[in-house]
Subunit: 361 residues, 4 copies
């Protein structure tokens, strides 16, 4: 409850900063009996890992995760799962240039003001590197959810002004290109854009969509821990995210009720079929049984080679450019992170829902 | 932690449904010594109250709040503040028509599936009536924040396709028209739209903006309880909200880093001046000292008089229209609710930040 | 999490002080479908109520509880249950005598130091009156537990130097005497003691035992939310409690492992039979399926008519005696309160345990 | 909130079992700026470490703790502090003997029933080895508290029937003998007792007292998170603890109010002096400014070489003796653990109290 953990029954707590000895995390609440090996986590970590294509940062972090507890003979024991990733690429850079400079759009100024400490090496705790542990923890949540029939997938749907064509959406395509684009035709446009942006020493924003299918009806805990509210928190807590939408999202403000109500029909199995899914699978904060659809907007990173006005720790006016290995579009690697945050949120709500479900006095 | 409370140190817990004997709430964590009387809460409740103009529902709920504890001789004592609003307008309606019908876009289907109970009277716990207590609790948070120099204001900035002109923004205007519009010129357009929508038996969505000024630097608890993450949760937990943005929000995904970094200059008082506020006053999840700007999109209510396909509790296909007294645009009355949720979030984070601030070993 | 609530999934939050308009509470997490009427709560409240015998305080508080929400047509709906007890006996006493005096052994000095407020009317929030809401909330937990086969009973086992004879323990007897004594023969000794104590203007301590039967195996969440740890917190949070024991308790420190290990035998039903229950039904923080046995020691109240040295708010040395209607032994009325706290703890742990139970990947 | 963490603002989460690769923990909420090095933690770990005298288990666990994050240039940064202790002494024992046997008085039966998993190697998560992380985390809390003038000390005051003489209490003596005895004269009696017990293949219980001095007035959050309630939970969560007392504890049930009220006198500095401390420094759940005194009773461990009846996983009746390296009195090593739990509780309550303190509207 001090800010480094998320979830009530299925809970991830993380620690570690970009340039310390290691990052780590604790996953609590995973039921016993789930088969789990390190490669289950590594798969997702590798998708998030920098240095896998020329479109992301050139840093090479193997991000090798170790499971330190909570698994015995290949199966979870119900006790907390300790995770650790050693920081191996703490390149002994020369930080003297930026040691006393605040970078506009970065967290270093506000961290300095909050904590009175200036950790000038990389982003410290505010570094995107912290999200590696979210991906590792999320992979456990994802495996648990898979066992109850829930699948979570994410895709990049826009980068700067370029958008995918939703009619060309192909989930299979997402794994085939370095952008997580579900539209094969958009890939060359994304390539061109990112090459242009990089050449200019600039950066660009992106929009990510995450979808969960197979979620049962009624997950979510009114009135504050609604499923959409907890999803919004989880997704907004990702670095650089500035907006979160469920279903038709911000667009619903423009519409009429007569066009946006998701009508219901009887289904052959006695269940209900919804004619549409403008609500993104959540009504009154509870899952409807439809696909849960969320979108998040990521701002362009402020780590650019174009000079910007700033101040130093002494209050002097300065200019700064950020040299080094940086993603021109942090939104790309945010796809597995967003999936992880959705998985963590759903695993927690599955357990919370389950605690009272199927009981009759 | 069962979903009916929000906040860690400053916490609101609510109870009550639209047609029960009363709604109520508990505000925990308000420091002792704050002057507080019921009229402090009533002011905001009256702004949210239905029946105040022809543009909202015709129901007349006086929403008279009682303070049951936590205040002695006009001042808070540091103990929990109990709040209650009796339900006086439980009109003994005939519900036989809709008693076994699910209304598309409403929470009744999912509540029935989750709880196995069909409370057919109004919206039950999912009713917007529950937000009255948020406004009451938020008024306490607001008064506390005012004492530390923080002011929170909200406005309606769009209704359906109609938007205000940001260049005409006048906070004074917000209190003068029934739409909470900050742009006097937009009022007649909002009037025309809502009259049209109501005549058609339809409803329309809206966008609300809330702004906090006077927040210090460094509020927020990384990495999950970031200020923006907790704001996103608080705002998304409001009925009908489908999207939340901070600062430039979803638009930031389209832009370049060179245009969106908020540059810093030295300020005369030794502090820092930001040249712009694309980030909406939050970096790395911490407040920057600038205005905190959030926006929320509300879907049009599904309570419309246009027939929609649905099912009944027996699984039969049916048609439904929602007669009765309903807001054609629930977004209007959401303005004080959004202010309340921002106030609650900031009061909690002020205390959390304060717990470690100003201490030297 | 601000201190006025207890429980994670089944949670009680209370508000109210002894001399305010009302006390109230919110019970979250009760599953839907449980039959519940106000008289279910009133039964336990009446057992705790003062003025029922000459052995407790002469104050007459009807303690009439109202259910304000969460129940529809006599059955819980799964939404929070709001509770309220109006304070009707706020006798307009003259407090001028003690208005600026701190009473030794009372909370008024520390409340004044913590909150900077002096609520001189009765005990304020620290009054035993607050426990009425615990009993009301506990009655809901108790009814829920009864539906899963758990019964909770309490008894007074000692008052000052007088103790019951455990060999004469008869649960039926508890309801027949005003001391909740399970030993009929002890009643006259308790009567004599309390008459003596009252005549002397003094007070006396007591020991209470609470027992839960029918609890399944494995309730409790290691390593910090062990069932015994949460019970210890719940019981120690009752006014005047200074010690909590599980099973043989403090006595186990004197013994040898060879005498205190609870041996196991196969049971006819394939389960296990324990030969003894020194551990009080909890091992490693988890329930064993045996009876859960806890004891609590209550100090004698400091509200006595024997003069004691103290200070006033101005720091002057003074003498104080506490006139008025006070229990000479607060431990008597603590019996239903202790039962309530055990019920709240077990209901919470039942849900927490249940959230992961019976699931196979 | 899944049971592996304790504290709201200052929070320790632990993971790891006795025979996994490592144990670890996360300390959240430590303010920035506190000087901290690994040897600060090691000092307390070494006091808890087995194998340091012939009176504790012969296992040799170096218990070398690593700080993985949250410290930069020898000072805390305000971000979470990751801790790890590798398990080096996982002696490849032959467990075939006890692999399917439940040991009476151990947690293995209830863990098996709760989780459906049988981790037969040592105690798994229920092993006392888990307390190493409590000591490490508690050392950070202790250092923080020391910076605000709070000192925490513990002592063994009884072992089986042998007790110290409180008139001979000397805190200096505690560090000089392997029993943490504050009474030099009791040491030879403790030695004799433990040699006798070990020779008999038996075990013996113990009583530990922990005392905090320098705590300010008013720490604690009524009515459920009272300081004594949270202390009771923290101490009862230690392995083998069966009873917790504050101040005069269980004895207060025997006494009269006239003898047990702690009278107050004016102090020269304008503060208050208490004439006695029967209440153990806590009234109404808040600290009084006096010494906080708590006692805990530890049962004798069930790991004994005297045969006991039990069952195996197949439900057959069996006999078991526990060979191997076990403490005949686990209470000895519980002293630093109890200190750690008190330090963690007080650090949390210091921050919680501080969040609202010293503020005037």
């Amino acid at each position: 409850m001090s800010g480094n953990g998320i979830g009530i029954l299925f809970r991830l707590t993380t620690f570690g900063e970009s340039h310390g000895p290691a990052l780590g995390g604790v996953v609590e609440g995973c039921p016993a009996g789930l088969p789990l090996v390190e490669s289950d986590l590594q798969r997702d970590l590798d998708r998030r890992r920098p240095g896998t294509s020329r479109f992301t940062t050139g840093r090479r972090e193997p991000d090798q995760v170790r499971i330190l507890s909570g698994v015995f003979q290949g199966v979870t024991t119900g006790t907390p799962i300790g995770l650790m990733i050693e920081n191996t690429d703490q390149r002994s850079r020369d930080y003297s240039e930026i040691q006393d400079l605040f970078r506009p759009g970065h967290a270093d100024y506000v961290y300095w003001r909050k904590y009175g400490i200036r950790d000038y090496r990389g982003g410290g705790r505010a570094s995107a590197r912290e999200t590696a542990l979210r991906v590792a923890g999320g992979a456990i949540a994802r495996k648990l959810l898979a066992a109850v029939g829930v699948e979570i997938r994410g895709a990049l749907i826009a980068m700067g002004p370029e958008r995918i064509d939703r009619n060309q959406w192909d989930w299979e395509e997402v794994g085939r290109n370095p952008f997580f684009s579900p539209d094969a035709a958009a890939v060359s446009r994304f390539e061109l854009l990112i090459d242009t942006v990089r050449a200019a020493g600039d950066s660009v924003g992106a929009t990510v969509e995450v979808v969960a299918s197979g979620v049962g009806v009624g997950w979510g805990e009114p009135v504050f821990d609604r499923l959409d509210a907890d999803l919004a928190k989880a997704l907004m807590s990702i670095n650089a995210v500035k907006g979160v939408e469920i279903g038709d999202g911000m667009e619903m403000a423009r519409g009429r009720g007569s066009m946006l109500a998701d009508e219901m029909l009887p289904a052959p199995d006695g269940e209900v079929t919804f004619v549409s899914n403008h609500a993104g699978g959540i009504l009154g904060g509870l899952s409807t049984g439809q696909e849960i659809v969320a979108r998040l907007a990521l701002k362009p990173t402020s780590s650019i080679r174009i000079p910007k006005r700033t101040v130093d720790v002494h209050g002097n006016p300065r200019q700064v450019i950020t040299e080094g290995r940086h993603d021109p579009c942090v939104g790309i690697r945010a796809v597995p992170v967003a999936e992880a945050m959705m998985a963590l949120t759903l695993a927690d709500h599955w357990l919370r829902h389950r605690s009272r479900q199927g009981w009759k006095p």
